[in-house]
Symmetry: D2
Subunit: 352 residues, 4 copies
């Protein structure tokens, strides 16, 4: 059994980790910390866990995290980097659900997150937690910076178009003018008392936000560059707040090059993802629905080329709290400990 | 492995049975029938099942249901009774999610469902599928008429007040003036093309319906009489359509007798349900939420006695498609085949 | 033109007052105050008002409220009572949307709202703002404590059963055992940053709250006693949080006396409300929907007597922000200034 | 008073016309027809109209539509063209909310709507009902084919970039590669019994549809060509079903030409729409919300140029049933009869 600790389990990624790890046959949750809620039963905060999770929140001090095999950070940005050093020294593997170990460029990190990076050396060794792209590195990693929710959907939606493995090195699309029109449920904003995500504000309403610049933009661009193996990537990223709880739908638009017009994209995608247990390339003409992955670690993709023209439309759905966060975390944990990648992640989506 | 057939799997109880049975370690789904959709892949209708369920809908003729060990009817009222005889003759156990085997009084059945009952003899032997009340009989049953969604919440919410086992035969409440104010998500209306449950009609809206008389009223009254062991039961039942997908919340009001005023109801309920794996009596003062059981087979109860007066308020929540339908069906299946009662039913509720 | 000031316009009752008063032909909004938002354009906070409302929030000091004809308090409890004296001295009429002038019993006020009452003399003269019950007094009032949202629905739903004017002094119901099972949209919780009313918490969910005791309980009981003209009133009041924005649905249950069983309640209600412009007694057998009054000042009632038994069920719907708050405020304003009662309140409900 | 008839008032555009026209000071609704519901009171179908609309549905025969001044068709496609001739002959003006008089190219109409066009001559004289673009022609029109819901948002969002009046004839954008990522509430699908728009299917869910080709695509392209005055227009249009009742949000992406990079688009848009009563160009950096126009005839636009690059992002919101349908119809009616354009259309949006 792998002994796992969770730092900061009072948010949505925290309760989702608890749901998944409780059902994982090879994991024992050792401790879950929350300084503000120390002493409170986890099931008192999240009644869905009554009868299933017996833990109480503890202070970080009492949690003895250094005795764990792995520690998840389900915390605000900046917490993981302040504790990673000690944990690594004790031989504990670290998985961060926040952004501390995502952006490789420290200046970019500081610009977008408004704080100094306190451990550039650990950042340097950290692996970006997107298994379908980075599987080998994750298997050997001591520190994983899990991919963000939007970035997971956009990168997996575009990878077959950019990865030399798939394209044979040909330039199929105008990579400098990619558009991602992304829509997220309100759980993506976290379990935080804020007016903008109140039910009375956000339901029966739809709006874009962060059009000027969103923290996930540099992360996605960094990822796409890594996938493509070159720097010629430009992205317009427009996130939208959608009146639902869970789910991300990214609608991606790319312009095909002359070479790109000759390709069968259905086949390209199916081939690229044929061995991936969590990525489903749907039949041509499909329209994936967010609910088809609600509560599951799946991500579904459909490819369209309207009027057989030079614009390709890729539709991608995921559950932002599972494949976009905690489920992906468990997937990486499985890889890091040599377990079957799907272990504990076989829940079927809840529909309706 | 138990070979299971599903008749009529195109509705919400059908897809929910598929979700649960697919994850059941001792069940093999043999066939799923739909005359109108025969030949269609189940996963094409319910994309949540893509990659997890390989079945196609078949005609009843091709399904070879008589070779199954058990057959679920997830059909409109009237179908199960037309096929039960042949199945039973072949040694197949029958579980009906519709109402064919719920009401013991044939005249009542005909009055509320507007059709003749075609097999009164089978009805006579059928067992009412509410395990917490009827466990022993279910274990030996060949035919189970599964309890309705509202009736499950109301009966389990009231049983400790009426069952002589709990009350010691004392009359604690005025059983002739029970009130059940019940609220259901719109999935309770089924996967049927109707204007009243369109999103544009039912969301951001709340209303009562069927106040004059609802089919679940006679079922609940029959159940309460059986639990109480006497006929002095009167119920005012008001169902309400609630703008959510899943979930039932029943708010029950009973008047205490003089004898009833002396009882500690928190203790009474905790004691009554102490060995039940799926019934959670919450701490005094709690307010159960429907989402705390979303997707799970749990049912949660909280007891209130405002101002320590003579009115007792019992709050009950369940997922109408799980504990109120398909989950209860699997629970009965486990009992009928001698399996652990919780097998295949350990999913944790999806929150948020 | 009546010069109107609004104190504390950053909440939902504030924006609703602005919507209604802007369309009122005899009102000029003089000032709207918010200490925290002073200087901000109202339309920047509430984009629905762009192009229609030109005001900025001002400090109370700059608002010159004493120069108004009437001032609304759309503030937290406790603010109105601290400013009423000065306004009244200046000849300004006061309408409070909070609870400062609702409860006549100071001890009750202090118990439920946790603060001293700072002006018992003004409270003594204040009139309870429920026009259908108190029309004459409101017309002459200098200070109106507007009825709460739940209390409006419950009192108007029960008045015909208790008012001697309607009953001829006969006791038709067991007034000591009234049950109000009430459901409210989440806007009733106000425009406040809180976790419990986040979209990700409150949507696709249903729960009761405050069963032990809710501030509206003493207000309703006080109102029912005044309507009945006696003290023998007992109420069990259970509010529920409903996943919608606007709307209250109260389901009321009363037990008929022997005398009460002989009455035609449809006729009784129709007669009682026959001249009321905002109360609609629906045809027998109806199920009112909250959306049928969304955005309007109407309140609809339907009466049921299931099985012609001794339990009467009354269904009441209103928009909690209009008839339950700001619309009722405008209705009272009209009365206080001798205007037609429906002036500025003729909006038709928004459906769908 | 203008005598108005409504053909086919049982859908959402019908009830919305009733809401608006009832509050219009210069309109008298003469008749509303529905063959299937003839004899039924309109207020029985739409309880929001109880006490406000006294009409009954009548058969077309009884409606004496030829005695009206104007007739609205709130019907399925194909009805208006079958009755227009007779009405025009009687001097009645015709406004069609369906698609019979939108597409000028008969072959296109037949391809997308699957029916012959029965009156090409009337189509030839019909005016496209988008007042901000076509005001003069509408004023003189006998027949108006009202713009579709999506097309209104896309055309008004793009007009300043294409209209020679605004651009001075310069080519500012790559007009052959315009992208419209549009999101609509489910009322856009109409009041029709269908599984896909059930609350249990469409809420807490998000999906694209019609990516291969949607009927609004040729309408938008036709409109953009007319605005631009040339044929070099290419559009990728992806509609999405959004879990809300009302509202359309179109997110438009265009690539700037070299000449286009020098333009101040905030100023361009503000100037283009400076005299339009229903179009609001929001301040730079804004994110319009659909609820800010809920129930109103307003349309709001915000312009973004992320990173000051060569991609322009235009955000547009409208209420699909008002500015996208019935409100626009009333706006055209006002123009056709020489009334002030905003008459009867001054409702403020309902927020929250």
């Amino acid at each position: 059994m792998i002994k796992v600790g969770i730092v900061g389990g009072t948010g949505y990624t925290g309760v989702e980790l608890l749901r998944l790890l409780t059902q994982h046959p090879e994991v024992k949750i050792q401790a879950i910390t929350s300084r503000t809620e120390a002493g409170m039963s986890v099931a008192d905060m999240f009644p869905s866990l009554r009868g299933r999770v017996d833990l109480k929140f503890t202070t970080p001090e009492d949690a003895k995290l250094t005795e764990c095999d792995a520690v998840f950070f389900a915390t605000p940005h900046g917490v993981a980097m302040s504790q990673a050093k000690e944990l690594l020294a004790a031989g504990v593997k670290v998985l961060d659900l926040a952004a501390d170990f995502r952006l490789k460029d420290i200046a970019e990190f500081q610009k977008w997150y408004g704080m100094e990076h306190s451990c550039p050396d650990i950042l340097a060794e950290a692996v970006y937690g997107l298994p379908e792209i980075n599987r080998d590195a994750i298997q050997k990693a001591r520190v994983v910076g899990l991919a963000g929710c939007y970035p997971t959907s956009v990168q997996l939606g575009l990878a077959p178009l950019l990865s030399p493995k798939a394209t044979g090195g040909k330039q199929l699309i105008d990579g400098e003018h990619i558009i991602s029109d992304s829509k997220s449920g309100t759980s993506g904003a976290g379990r935080k008392a804020e007016i903008g995500t109140l039910m009375a504000e956000a339901s029966d309403n739809f709006k874009a936000y962060g059009v000027k610049g969103h923290r996930h933009l540099p992360e996605i661009v960094q990822g796409l560059k890594a996938i493509a193996g070159h720097e010629q990537i430009g992205l317009t990223f427009v996130p939208h707040l959608t009146p639902m709880i869970r789910g991300i739908h990214s609608t991606l638009y790319v312009r095909l090059t002359e070479a790109g017009k000759a390709v069968d994209y259905q086949k390209l995608y199916e081939n690229f993802y044929k061995d991936e247990p969590f990525v489903d390339v749907m039949p041509a003409g499909s329209h994936p629905e967010t609910r088809s992955v609600r509560g599951s670690n799946g991500l579904r993709i459909a490819i369209h080329r309207p009027g057989n023209g030079d614009t390709l439309v890729i539709l991608v759905v995921e559950d932002n709290l599972v494949k976009g966060a905690s489920g992906q975390g468990v997937q990486c944990l499985n890889l890091m400990f040599g377990l079957p990648e799907t272990m504990g992640l076989t829940q079927i989506a809840l529909l309706p």
